[in-house]
């Protein structure tokens, strides 16, 4: 049993680092390959849309990985290499969309809902809180005094 557990853990540990990049796609230079690898993790596969091109086995994802590596080998910066693909497939391919005018709702919508909701809740709670008690007038004080006395007497 124990041996089985160790084996399972070992297998899972290896499986965790698996990705779809084939050895023949990888660049010889480990530095460039690392850049390509980290960039491709943030690029969406347009065929299987919730996978990155790094994870996807789709033929088009493979093509895009190779194009990304070509651009990087040709001396593109990370931004230029990503822009090359964005020019063709739109910013939809960026798994982390850039902050732009048309993505403001996406980025700050939840925060706006929280603020509006919080404001609403605050107004509501304020309105339900008991209002501060008015101080008693001299007449009332006297009445309280009598009441307390009679109560004690009774």
């Amino acid at each position: 049993m124990r041996r089985f557990l160790i084996l399972t853990c070992a297998v899972l540990a290896v499986a965790g680092s698996a990705w779809a990049v084939n050895p023949d796609e990888q660049l010889a230079d480990p530095g460039l390959e690392a850049r390509a690898h980290s960039l491709s993790k943030d690029l969406r596969c347009v065929v299987c849309q919730n996978q990155s091109i790094d994870d996807s086995d789709a033929a088009l994802a493979r093509d895009l990985r190779i194009i990304l590596r070509e651009r990087i080998s040709a001396g593109d910066t990370d931004e230029q290499a990503v822009a090359y693909l964005v020019a063709r497939y739109g910013s939809f391919v960026q798994l982390q969309p850039p902050v732009r005018l048309d993505t403001l709702a996406l980025w700050f919508g939840p925060l706006a809902v929280l603020l509006v909701g919080g404001l609403g809740a605050m107004i509501y709670i304020r309105s339900r809180a008991p209002s501060r008690a008015e101080p008693l007038s001299a007449d009332e004080e006297a009445e309280v005094e009598t009441l307390l006395k009679t109560d004690k007497a009774g």
Binding site: V46, V47, Q49, A59, L60, D63, L64, I67, V86, A87, R88, Y89, G90, F92, G117, G120, I123, Y124
Partner: protein
Amino acid sequence: MRRLIFILPVVLFAAVLIGFFAGLGRDPALLPSTMIGKPVPEFSLPSVRPGDQGFATADLGGEPMLINFYASWCAACRIEHPLLMRLRAEGVLLHGVDWKDQPQAGYQWLQDRGDPYVRVGSDVSGRTGIDMGVSAVPETFVIDKQGRVRYRHVGAVTPQLWDETLRPLMDKLRSES
């Protein structure tokens, strides 16, 4: 005013619900094209037909035309093929690109089913398609007289799409200077 505070969240919730419900019916594969209004990227492809003239950017422009991306391995291409044959018979200027496919297989496809294309290029690497943002075949682009992309359709062209969208658009482009 006070009542508004209580009604507003309900109205907002209803609006969000309607928005999400409408979104359910949308096909997530239909991505907006980045190419609309831009000239077709430079390309030059050998022909799928042995010994025939290839297909290149120089063939574009002059008249409105269609570029249809197909492949012999593509199932939906079988569905739209009869319509493409009809368009060719009607004299529509239709070019083809055999995308990510061996030219022999693409040629065999045309032999077996009929050849609707004026020019048909072989894009084995898929790069010409990728430059135009093709994500899957079939895809069809409407090109204007200046060689710019004016419309992109993802998936099989249906008779309805042709009658209601593509033909009116091509007529309009024909009347442009």
